[in-house]
Symmetry: C2
Subunit: 386 residues, 2 copies
């Protein structure tokens, strides 16, 4: 195969735009020098717009999981009880973190591929009126379900005093988020998904209520003490040495999103989702998530009659296209295409065409070219499913 | 001033070598794909050589402080008592972390500029024979003291069962380290100092005794659970999404150090120290650390009779040379020159010459050119102080 031709379409990391690559090449600066303050200052407005918040968005050197843990250790005091909504592998991670801290954890579990059922959540809140927090995954990367966090947040606040804590790692930057309006108390995400950056940065913002809880929470924490980051960020600084090259990249990402406009970024992701889903359906493949809760950033599907791992292997070996397998118990049965961040309609047409070749070779039954036609129609029609 | 001409000589981050910059521009790869395993595998031998260990050296997305906290939460069980040697700001940080976890913390405090006094440590060990761990800073960045960790480790092991835990952030990669031979139990460092990389990576290795302690330690931890990293590293993987661009940079750093040879890298750092110290003395400036404990990576000094911050300001404004101020109570009285990582004799000659101009301008009394001459002599003579 053509040397090093790799087309990365896993649900993160995503490819890096050329101008972001260039931005990350800038010479080092002192992290206590004015240049770093300027850099952090320039990033803040764009981050706040993406989060839909007037709160400070802190930038932390760490991966997404450090953000999930930060959300737990800062807001959940010893003795608190929490509810964790588990709709896939990353809901499980929230639960694992809570359990590792010996927190009384009520699990709301859904079949992988389904979103959180509001009725079940209401019932759990009714049974556990003293819950201190409810943890929800916005986009469950493992299943490509986008949970209805605005609706769930409204429900939670109407039924309890629990904080609403959201893992938005695999979608924020690619989908609508109105943290303040939706009354989300802690929102966490990472750099290597819709933010089009390498891994290594975690972003987090929190509400006034969450801050109050953090101030009163005696649970020990140091590196992940979010109050330290917020305080430093107010002075355009960081409590510990930042990952400066990634900050330069983030600055350029903010510029790219501003040029495209956030509205167009979100619309593009919806279109990529609709193209992908229409094509996979036309190829007689099975979508894991229903239309009403399908994430704009990733699509998980099954390949009835053929081995999922063979599809993945051939896409990689013949075309250099990397897609992901499933997670957990779906490791061998599910495939996932990431269409987030630095990804366009062009990229989806390419993947679908290559996928048709591979499926034909593996003896899968479908009408030749119909995946491509369906993707094209979704593109031409622009009938974006919102 | 010439646009963007910045010569970064703070004690980290250091400038990035051009080939390392280029290495970090490689297209993203999947963190669960074989390319990442190959990358991690290629890094391991060089890291083990630098650490002087047969143990796995784990690579974590986080800054140096995340490593200090990891060292604490993994090895110190609830109820344990520890001794923290404080010789400056980073010893204080170890103590702050221990205290934030409500750990009984015995402080061995030295005047800033002095190393740990072995007699005082022996006394404390005698008084606290049940200490679970002793925390030591190898190079105390704030004072430029290199603590005699080999000697201190021998003392600790001869007097107690305490683990020896070392913060090597601002020197590892630039100075000798024999973790196994010196019986160090946990050693932590970061990417933005002698490793010539941007901030964002933390490196850590631990002994069999430390592993045993970690396995038995019920203290909760998740993102910073070092056993998770070691287990994953044995399969050339990471438990959470890595900071891939920095890993590519690290791979190139391993190559650069291999080409130069570690022996030459360490010798170069000793030479840079000796040049810097000889020059500062010849300029009638006062060195904070004595010769016997002077770090090869950073030099802290005082400017009797003139304002330290004026020196720093003029070096920056007239020459684009950035040096650091002091930390904590020495903020306004101490200056620090970083001479680690991507730094050569050429760079030191440049700094000293510029410093002479600034000192002259500020009315400091010294014999013109004698700083430069002293640095040159230290270079020519090669009379490296070991």
């Amino acid at each position: 195969m053509l040397q090093n031709q790799t087309i990365l379409r896993i649900p993160g990391p995503t490819p890096i735009p050329p101008s972001v690559q260039r931005a990350m090449q800038q010479p080092m600066i002192g992290h206590r020098d004015p240049e770093t303050a300027e850099l952090l200052k320039s990033i803040q407005p764009g981050m706040q717009q993406i989060f839909g918040t007037k709160q400070v968005v802190s930038v932390v050197a760490g991966s997404g999981t450090s953000g999930l843990e930060a959300a737990v250790v800062n807001t959940v005091a010893p003795g608190d009880k929490v509810i964790v909504c588990v709709t896939g592998a990353f809901g499980e991670r929230f639960a694992a973190i809570c359990k590792s801290y010996q927190i009384e954890t009520i699990i709301l579990e859904e079949v992988w591929g389904e979103p959180v059922n509001p009725k079940k959540l209401e019932q759990l809140l009714h049974e556990n009126p003293d819950s201190a927090a409810v943890f929800i995954t916005y986009c469950e990367t493992s299943t490509s379900v986008l949970n209805p966090i605005a609706e769930l947040s409204e429900l939670i606040h109407s039924q309890s005093n629990a904080l609403v804590i959201v893992d938005g790692v695999s979608c924020i930057g690619g989908v609508e988020l109105e943290m303040d309006q939706w009354k989300l108390d802690v929102v966490v995400t990472g750099s290597q998904k819709a933010f089009m950056l390498p891994g290594g940065l975690m972003f987090v913002a929190f509400s006034d209520d969450a801050r109050q809880k953090m101030n009163a929470n005696p649970r020990p924490r140091f590196y992940l003490d979010l109050l330290k980051y917020e305080k430093a960020a107010q002075e355009f600084s960081t409590p510990f040495t930042p990952a400066t090259s990634l900050l330069y990249g983030l600055q350029e990402v903010m510029q790219l999103m501003k040029e495209e406009t956030l509205e167009s970024v979100f619309k593009r992701h919806l279109q990529l989702r609709d193209m992908t889903r229409a094509a996979l359906r036309a190829l007689n493949l099975e979508l894991l998530a229903g239309d009403a809760f399908a994430s704009p950033t990733v699509t998980a599907f099954l390949t009835p009659g053929i081995e999922a791992k063979q599809v993945r292997k051939q896409l990689s070996e013949r075309f250099g296209i990397r897609i992901a397998g499933g997670q957990g118990h779906q490791k061998d049965t599910v495939l996932r295409i990431g269409h987030m961040g630095y990804c366009s309609a062009t990229d989806v047409l390419l993947i679908i065409s290559a996928l048709e070749v591979v499926l034909t070779d593996l003896g899968h039954v479908f009408e030749a070219g119909q995946g491509t036609v369906a993707a094209q129609k979704a593109l031409i029609g622009g009938n974006v499913h919102v």
